[in-house]
């Protein structure tokens, strides 16, 4: 487990960038934290780290957006947002299972704490907390196989 306290967006971006360099395809990033904690900002920086040129915009309304990637074995990023979802709901309904099973896909889920059936393997948990103004606490923990 790693814990960071960042004092500004630049430092938050660096944490996300560093995480991006260690990522492998087939992994799942579960982001949690309240409104305004900086989850989308984190995903934007992660995307920059993965060399994605498209602008990452909030998937809150459409639940899921996809972006092409060319980084190591990773060929696409699926950005999911559970904000509008009912707590107990299964993301299989929007076709997420297909992406979770795809070795060339990296899935990032915002408001992942609303889901209780996430796979246990290849899961990276990122918990973000608002500490006032641009200050954030970020806790990264992972359960990786192999």
């Amino acid at each position: 487990m790693q814990e960071f306290v960042t004092n500004n967006i630049k430092e938050t971006n660096k944490v996300a960038n560093d995480l991006a360099t260690s990522l492998e395809s087939g992994q799942l990033i579960a982001l949690s934290g309240n409104l305004g904690a900086g989850k989308t900002v984190f995903v934007k920086a992660l995307a920059v780290g993965l060399g994605i040129s498209e602008t990452i915009t909030s998937p809150t309304f459409v639940l899921m957006k996809s972006y092409p990637v060319n980084y190591k074995q990773i060929k696409q990023l699926i950005h999911v947002d559970c904000y509008r979802l009912d707590a107990s709901e299964d993301l299989a309904d929007i076709g997420l299972q297909d992406f979770l099973d795809d070795p060339q896909t990296l899935v990032v889920i915002e408001w992942a704490d609303k889901l209780d059936n996430l796979p246990k393997n290849n899961l990276i948990n990122v918990k973000m907390e608002f500490l006032g103004q641009d200050k954030r606490k970020i806790v990264i923990s992972s359960k990786l196989v192999g």
């Binding site: 409104l35 900086g38 989308t40 915009t57 809150t60 459409v62 009912d86 709901e89 103004q133």
Partner: protein, 345 residues
């Protein structure tokens, strides 16, 4: 010509039969079945429930509005952008019907539909559209914030869009921070009416960015900071926060719209999308357009949210341009495109 259109890209299942002539658009049938109540009950959208509702409503909607032997010249359906599970229902129903009735199907982009909601509410556009091109269109909704230059029917250039949250989403999330309920837009703007917008000095992110992109995520976070600082807030504070927030949003949207109108020498300004229901936004744009002597068009309230009428009108202009018309065996390959980006930079 008669066009039957279906829309199911998100929370609404809707059907329209349009009778379109060269200078008149008449809606023979127009029905919207909304799922907002159901989503309220669950506290959010449940994709499986949304899809099931579309499945349960789309066939009754069809059989109540069109007899099996009745002919239409074209069918039309929203194929994207939107929620994949919701889109799938409308697309499947429409292509099945098109194949069975041997009728061509027009695949319509949901955003283009929003633009054409203006044609439903302004006869002048139906009769003399060319007088008003190029037009600058501001599309604002729960999922979109886009500034589009419309050079003619079906001819678009994307000038800018949000780099993070959409306007409608920002309204919903601010409502959530203030514990005001769902959907947040109408509630926040209602509370804003009773508030004083000068109490809280909220930022106008990217207002001087020199491009036509928008950012609303930071504004939402600024509201959060304001609330954290206050700790306890009363009814008056909530009204004032709503007023200050709405004022900041309208400031940004109007400022960029008018800058673009000036730079591109447009002949009119149009507003579209669910947030077009916001009175302060409409009034501010109207006022600024009047100063510049530019005609300003906006959709009636019933056509600003998602509906099938706007899809039928967009389909009509696509047909005139011979675009996106599919028939015969090609119908089998029609599929939802949840990320369909119609407007190009």
């Amino acid at each position: 010509m008669r066009i039957l259109a279906l829309e199911s890209s998100c929370d609404e299942t809707a059907l329209t039969i349009l009778n379109a002539q060269a200078d008149s658009l008449v809606l023979e049938k127009d029905q919207v079945y909304s799922q907002v109540d159901i989503h309220q009950q669950f506290g959010g959208v449940v994709p499986e429930v949304a899809a099931r509702q579309h499945a349960e409503t789309i066939i009754p909607l069809l059989s109540a509005n069109i007899k099996s032997e009745e002919k239409v010249d074209y069918l039309a359906v929203t194929t994207g952008p939107g929620l994949i599970t919701s889109l799938l229902l409308g697309v499947t129903a429409a292509k099945t019907l098109a194949y069975a009735k041997n009728t061509p199907l027009v695949t319509v982009n949901h955003m283009e539909g929003h633009i054409y909601s203006n044609w439903l509410s302004n006869d002048e556009l139906v009769k003399n559209a060319n007088k008003y091109f190029p037009s600058l269109v501001l599309i604002v909704s729960g999922g979109h914030t886009e500034l589009v230059l419309m050079k003619g029917h079906g001819d678009y250039q994307l000038l800018g869009s949000t780099v993070d949250d959409a306007v409608g989403e920002a309204f919903d999330k601010v409502a959530k921070l203030l514990d005001l309920g769902y959907p947040g837009g109408p509630i926040v703007s209602q509370r804003a009416n009773d508030g004083d917008c000068s109490i809280y000095d909220l930022p106008r992110p990217m207002i001087n960015s020199g491009d036509y992109n928008f950012s609303f995520s930071g504004l939402k976070t600024a509201v959060l900071y304001t609330l954290e600082r206050k700790k306890k807030i009363n009814t008056e504070d909530v009204d004032n926060v709503c007023a200050s927030f709405q004022n900041a949003v309208v400031d940004i949207l109007v400022n960029k719209t008018m800058k673009a109108a000036q730079e591109f020498g447009v002949k009119s300004i149009m507003l579209a999308g669910g947030v077009a229901a916001n009175n302060q936004l409409k009034e501010s744009l109207q006022q600024e357009a009047r100063i510049k002597d530019l005609p300003f068009f906006f959709p009636e309230l019933k056509y600003s949210g998602d509906n099938a009428a706007m899809i039928s009108v967009a389909a009509y202009y696509n047909i005139l341009n011979k675009k996106n018309i599919i028939s015969g065996k090609d119908l089998l390959s029609v599929a939802p495109q949840s990320n369909w980006q119609l407007f190009k930079k």
